[in-house]
Symmetry: C2
Subunit: 430 residues, 2 copies
């Protein structure tokens, strides 16, 4: 049974705090193994990649080589039925047009003192994209990571994807092709992260690595952080639905389960001011679970981490939602905007009765890579901003230096930085 | 002697690559100690802070308490001479007005299908600011971190600063006051980072931690990353000056030394097409070092990591500068813009002969927290964007769901995610 809380209960505050603190990630201690793998790739390059792939993915790449060829990618595209390919193209196009709006603009201006200053944006030159193998190998995830990189102007988008037992999802290759991925390598795990960060004989290094992965991949990304940039370390997914009594419990149950089916560690939470709806949703979830292909996963997630919270008034849900800081927040109200406008912490908000979160996973146009595990309190979903960087610009002429120099010299003095003061004073002849 | 390279030399490519790979950071193995400190603060809260501060900072806070009081801050402000306070105010005001331009704008729009989508920005609720103690306790750094946070709208800016042997720089407190810092705590090291991330009886936790620190602070930030957000892990500072023969070698020497005096691990590099200028700058550096209060530090940095690179033509400096990806790039040319426009990787660019980098450290208005150690290839200096986060917005009506739903269902099918498909289909009655 999922947890059920009622805001009127005397111990509500404590139980809600406990819900927030529930640890859903199994932190496997893989750091030592990962350190060894990275050292091996740095020392032996391609040879290490062949050996480690044989060991972990049970596939000998010495025949086919490390890189996926253009003809393999074309063949993969040919394997896909036309409606699915069209759906993938629709998704890519919507992601592209939405993310194009996110491109930041340069802002270089001259102020009242004649000082020119501002910001200039440029794309990262090369980005690595990690794509998991096996059942978590999602074409939508390829689009969500690669399309914004290309929109940003990244020259080289380099995808790595393991092929356990030699299997590679043709949809993943088709998505890479649609997104404009420049290179695809059939490697995975910490060894792929190491190859992207440090390079090998075959693979030129990148400047940043993005994309989801298992505990090994996450540990490897943490280790190479600094040498290259990384995106967030993604945790298990979660949804929070805020609903009044005017909702179809079947719809809400379907949405809760769409989250739960991802992962036994996923979390689905309903907050409602209607105890009746709470009961009916709980019943609908139980009724729907057996219909799912991934029933066992969904059941485990719902039983272990699911929660229904009944409040007296929906306004009480605002601070609760902000503390939960959900990756996905559905506001299932007839007039959802006033509620949503009060929310400060959420990765993405899905408004009204006809916006199931799954739309955002695929074809909404916004990004489905979103902050998990309460990190929406301090971070954002993936965007074009993750693939560009800003250079500050400053230019003074002699007059500007006369205006600002003395203050800089005083502050340099106050900080005991002689040479800082001298570098200004020598130009002002003092 | 600093290294000297000439682009005509047969081994230039190898020697330049070696220069890029030079490791300037001493990576102390402090991770185990830091893990113990964090666990202690989590377990014992304030009591651990008192004990650890006594141990590491040699100061017993049981009398004065953990928090710096308003009257102490007012008293500190009173200790500062009027011209220095005015300089600090000028710096704060210029930082404020520049960073106000960086506030991102919400962008929520309705597309041709009637789908409403976009981005909404909000400030992080609470941010911790680490300020080092002792000689590296810089008021300018307080302004550069705290002012953008306040411009972004952060409600609670919480500063921690150790007071080794009880000493606290009054300028640091004055800067905190000017910047609008909400709380100041006299703690430092990994224990301060732990207190900010997890909270104690006295200190409410924050959502993100920024600011420079020693190896313990950096290791602690890495450890709490995920629980809270962190800014970059800053490395030693560096400057690259690109100059033609038409420069005063004394000015350039002063700029190289302004970098070198920061830290024995700082790096100053000159690239020029004039062998004569190269010689004269080298001589000027030697002549100026003895004039500096921090002569020993500057000499160590220049001897160990300084470099002069002579190229045939200045255009050759463009790809070299992009590979160096310097934190600070000075373009000391009469007409610097055409050169600067070609640069892709730099934290900040200082243009012309009258923009010594020290202006950017204090009163330029742009931020002096910039990516070091070649990380300008993938990251940016501190800005208002580091203190806000973006929430995606998506709203479909019934028509929009009819338009997009079928494609989402196909992709959910392709990914084997039944419940995703059902959450859409149940609303379309299929």
């Amino acid at each position: 049974m999922p947890i059920r809380l009622t805001s009127r209960d005397a111990d509500f505050a404590q139980r809600f705090a406990a819900l927030l603190e529930t640890k859903r990630e199994v932190s496997e201690d893989v750091d030592r193994a990962v350190a060894e793998i990275i050292a091996d790739v740095r020392a032996r390059g391609d040879a290490a990649l062949y050996d480690l792939t044989l060991r972990f993915d049970r596939v000998d790449l010495t025949g086919v080589g490390l890189q996926v060829s253009a003809s393999e990618i074309a063949a993969a595209r040919g394997e896909i039925d036309a409606p699915t390919l069209a759906a993938l193209e629709l998704a890519a196009e919507r992601i592209r047009s939405h993310h194009a709006r996110q491109m930041p603009k340069d802002d270089v201006y001259t102020d009242a003192l004649g000082v020119t200053l501002g910001s200039r944006w440029s794309a990262i030159e090369a980005v690595g994209l990690y794509v998991p193998g096996g059942t978590a190998s999602y074409p939508s995830s390829v689009l969500m990571n690669a399309v914004p990189a290309k929109v940003a102007g990244v020259d080289r988008v380099v995808m790595v994807v393991p092929t356990p037992d030699g299997r590679l999802n043709p949809l993943v290759l088709a998505a890479a092709d649609l997104a404009g991925v420049d290179e695809v390598w059939r490697i995975g795990g910490a060894q792929a992260v190491a190859a992207l960060a440090y390079g090998t004989e075959s693979i030129a290094p990148v400047a940043k690595i993005v994309g989801p992965g298992n505990a090994y991949v996450a540990a490897a990304k943490r280790r190479v952080f600094g040498k290259v940039g990384i995106d967030m370390i993604a945790g298990p997914s979660e949804v929070l639905i805020v609903a009044d009594g005017n909702n179809d419990p079947e719809w809400l149950a379907a949405d809760l389960l769409a989250q739960a089916e991802h992962d036994a560690a996923a979390q689905s939470i309903l907050i409602t001011d209607s105890p009746e709806l709470a009961d009916r949703v709980a019943a609908a979830v139980e009724a729907q679970i057996p219909m799912l292909g991934r029933a066992a996963t969904a059941r485990a997630s719902w039983q272990d981490y699911g929660a229904i919270i009944v409040v007296d008034r929906l306004e009480q849900a605002v601070p609760l939602a902000d503390r939960i800081a959900a990756e996905h927040l559905e506001v299932a109200l007839d007039d959802p905007e006033p509620f949503a406008a009060q929310i400060r912490n959420a990765g993405a908000i899905f408004l009204g009765h006809h916006t199931p979160e799954a739309i955002g996973d695929y074809v909404g146009g916004s990004n489905h890579v979103l902050p998990t595990a309460r990190s929406a309190r301090f971070s954002s979903g993936l965007s074009v901003l993750d693939f560009v960087k800003r250079t500050s610009i400053l230019r003074l002429d002699a007059d500007g230096l006369r205006a600002l120099g003395p203050a800089a010299m005083l502050l340099a003095d106050a900080e005991g930085l002689d040479a800082h003061r001298r570098s200004v004073g020598i130009r002002l002849n003092r």
